[in-house]
């Protein structure tokens, strides 16, 4: 399939900010990770694609065509859009920044998480203190925290420039 034909399958609204929640985003990534490459431009032959179709139409509310190429391409594009990052307070930002100073960057797929130490403290802060969901693991915890800090800085730098 060439690029032009592929882009005609796109149903992700251009310019629209991410709208999936963190949990929905993780679910989509898990479905996508396990799925075979598309084989049909007209139907769904692989049953794992039904799960993807259900997700994209029901949860993401996208009017995607029921064929494997359209589903696969739109899933990838939706993952690219990311998830809707929650806004945190200034106090939470300060606490989170302090915790992040104590830990090293972790690879996104680093799923180890010791019972003690900086990443565990970060995990407890995200889940227990501010009540957000995050996958257990140094990688997911570090990246979730980084997303929250970056989002806070984006919002506050925008507010300052208005």
């Amino acid at each position: 399939m060439n690029k032009e034909t592929m882009l005609q399958l796109n149903v992700i609204p251009e310019g629209k900010e991410a709208w999936l929640s963190y949990d929905q985003y993780q679910e989509l990534k898990a479905i996508f990770q396990d799925i075979n490459l598309p084989s049909s431009q007209t139907t769904i032959d692989d049953k794992s694609y039904f799960k993807l179709y259900d997700f994209l139409t029901t949860i993401a509310q996208l009017p995607v065509q029921a064929n494997e190429y359209a589903l696969h391409f739109n899933a990838f594009t939706l993952i690219r859009r990311g998830y809707k990052i929650e806004e945190i307070t200034t106090r939470e930002y300060e606490q989170l920044s302090a915790l992040m100073m104590e830990v090293s960057q972790a690879d996104i797929d680093d799923m180890e998480l010791d019972d003690f130490g900086g990443h565990r403290a970060l995990y407890r802060f995200l889940t227990n203190t501010i009540g957000l969901s995050v996958k257990q693991g140094r990688g997911p915890v570090w990246h979730r925290a980084k997303d929250l800090l970056d989002q806070y800085e984006r919002v506050h730098s925008r507010n300052r420039s208005v």
Binding site: K3, M6, K16, F32, L37, F76, I79, R81, I108
Partner: protein, 77 residues
Amino acid sequence: MSKAPYEGSNYKITQQQWDELNEFYQTIQPPAQNELYASGDHYLLFLMLRKMGFRPSSDAMELYQMAGQILAAGWDE
């Protein structure tokens, strides 16, 4: 500790695959942090790597980095 997606692998692609990947890689831009439109480029890169037998991440940044590392590793003589 953060590591590169392709780090530690000894697998190398064939010269034909390398040429194909390199030709495409040279035509695309690194992914932007917040991309609010679909270019299709990184999806095509994802498909290309999957067809070459890799299991790339759906994260475009890692995907792009992985492709660069595969090219840097050269082809199997």
